[in-house]
């Protein structure tokens, strides 16, 4: 098996958690209630914990002398393989919740399937993550319902966020060359197979939340090939600041 494909496959999963965790990290101390602040910080913590497991594994199998931090902080923008969804900004609480909701429902399906991987390390990470992701999914789904079926204002905001973010959902089910190789090897999950279940699950919650399920024909993509939205560069300039400014130091 080609290790480069496995490493790219790991990026494809880990970078989602990394960038979403980073976005959530921006919010600490700025939330609408202390309880949501704590919950979102907790999700961020879980995601970064997962990131560390993936990157430690990637560093271990890499032929180069690299650490988890090199992989997290020292790639160029074009080398990050997260989907566009997770890099979208915290426009308001509805966008934060909407982004989380649309990601969590994918994430839980992915982790469930990843437990069947032929790669023991990935199975172990998936088993550990699945409990966390279940909690994330419950949290974000509950808030979609609260905001959707709350006040007129919150309904409008939640619907707008869902409408706006929907165009980034299709990309979750695209596969790259590395993905295809890993699927063939029994290591990776064939995300194409998760699509129907995903839209069914997400739509059920949206309906329960008295929201409309968007009917879009056009979707955005690019993240999985490292072609990001213009937000990404600014995320990275902060995230990489210390590692870039003080190269090779230990913290």
């Amino acid at each position: 098996m080609n290790k480069d494909f496995l490493i790219k496959y790991l990026y494809g999963i880990a970078d989602n958690s990394l960038i979403l965790g980073q976005r959530l990290g921006e919010l600490t101390g700025h939330g609408p209630t202390l309880e949501t602040d704590i919950a979102l910080t907790n999700i961020s913590l879980d995601l970064f914990g997962q990131v560390r497991s993936y990157f430690q594994y990637a560093a271990q199998i890499s032929e180069k002398e690299v650490t988890e931090d090199d992989l997290a902080f020292l790639r160029t923008e074009r080398e990050y393989l997260n989907v566009l969804l997770v890099e979208q900004p915290n426009t308001n609480f509805a966008y934060t919740i909407g982004r989380q909701f649309l990601f969590d429902h994918f994430h839980i399906l992915l982790m469930t399937e990843l437990q069947k991987s032929t790669d023991d390390t990935l199975v172990a990470i998936a088993k550990k993550s699945i409990k966390e992701v279940n909690y994330h999914k419950r949290f974000s789904s509950d808030w979609v319902k609260r905001l959707g079926d709350g006040t007129e204002e919150s309904k409008g905001k939640m619907q707008m966020a869902i409408n706006d973010l929907w165009r980034f959902t299709d990309e979750l089910f695209h596969t790259t060359k590395a993905d295809e190789e890993m699927i063939k090897a029994g290591v990776g999950v064939d995300v194409k197979q998760l699509k129907d279940t995903y839209y069914k699950n997400v739509s059920e919650i949206l309906e329960e939340a008295t929201l409309e399920v968007p009917d879009l024909k056009y979707f955005q993509k690019g993240g999985k090939d490292g072609i990001h939205t213009e937000h990404m560069g600014f995320i990275l300039s902060d995230m990489q600041y210390m590692q870039r400014t003080y190269p090779g130091m230990k913290w």
Partner: protein, 318 residues
């Protein structure tokens, strides 16, 4: 109630405190006790919440994954402390919304230390080491204060603060063992945080009010100056281990007293910050107000949803 009855209640109350028994929310308590506790406990809660901001400022820029996770967890702990402390304060018959209003209107204070900016990564280390260190010295005695909910909250808070303090010191140690640039960063952070940390113990004893009353209620066990001395005595040797210099020309060990002598604190700066004119007072308060006001529609939605759900339950039951 007759004056005699009140007198009687007061005696029972004071005897209880003297016997080191806890006062609980349902117990009778003098109005002044209640008010003083609301003031101090909410100020403490507000400090946790505002204190999230200077550290939160570095979450997106933490230099390694390990440090980022630790910092997130620390700031989350502070939110948790805020939560216990607000809950404990609410047992005294004041709502969280009222407490927030007091913070946002500037009526309630929070610890002045959080009005200083975090401008390098070393500040995250220095805050853990010095600010949490000072906080622990202020707070450990509160674990056995007379008001039950406060005392219990403080037990949990102090345990976590100790962990944060060690973590902060470990950041400093890593920097001081690192490159000359990193060590310089650590020294610079010590230079900027040292004096504000000393100010965390409040004005000197001769300028401090309420001390006697607070001692009786076990809200205080030592004076500001005693606590400050304890902090200095404990911290200077730690700086020595780091190999960085406390920015005080007058600092020196006094064999006779068994304590460090130290230089004059800039009380003008202290009062300037207390009065709202520190480097970040405006920004910190504005950030909290923006978060609160910007989140109103979310809280309203949650309330409306909860009501609808309750209605549905009633209908289903009926």
């Amino acid at each position: 109630m007759s004056e005699k009855e009140i007198k009687n209640l007061e005696e029972i109350f004071e005897a209880k405190i003297a016997r080191d028994e806890k006062i609980e929310p349902k117990d009778w308590m003098p109005e002044k006790y209640r008010k003083t506790h609301i003031r101090q406990m909410s100020q403490h809660a507000h400090s946790e919440i505002v204190g999230m901001l200077p550290e939160g400022n570095w979450i997106t820029r933490a230099p390694s994954l390990r440090r980022k996770v630790a910092l997130l967890a620390k700031v989350q702990d502070e939110a948790g402390h805020g939560l216990y402390l607000y809950s404990a304060t609410e047992t005294l018959g004041i709502s969280r919304d009222e407490l927030y209003d007091q913070l946002h209107s500037g009526k309630a204070k929070y610890s002045s230390i959080f009005n200083y900016p975090t401008i390098t990564w070393a500040d995250i280390g220095a805050i853990g080491w010095l600010v949490d260190g000072a906080a622990i010295i202020n707070q450990v005695p509160l674990c056995s204060t007379s008001f039950g909910p406060y005392a219990r909250a403080m037990v949990r808070v102090c345990k976590e603060e100790s962990f944060h303090q060690r973590q902060g010191y470990e950041i400093m140690l890593t920097l001081c063992k690192g490159t000359p640039e990193q060590k310089e960063m650590a020294q610079d952070a010590l230079n900027r945080w040292w004096w504000p940390s000393l100010m965390m113990f409040g004005p000197t004893d001769d300028e401090s009010t309420h001390t006697e009353q607070s001692m009786k209620w076990k809200l205080k066990r030592k004076t500001n100056d005693e606590l400050r001395q304890q902090f200095i005595d404990q911290t200077v040797p730690q700086a020595d281990i780091l190999g960085i210099k406390v920015p005080d020309e007058d600092l020196k060990w006094n064999e006779e007293t068994g304590h460090y002598d130290f230089g004059k604190i800039n009380w003008d700066e202290f009062w300037q910050v207390v009065k709202g004119h520190g480097p970040c007072n405006k920004e910190r308060l504005q950030t909290r107000v923006d978060a609160w006001e910007g989140g109103e529609w979310v809280r309203d939605a949650a309330m409306a949803y909860a009501e609808k759900q309750a209605d549905k339950k009633v209908k289903r039951a009926g």
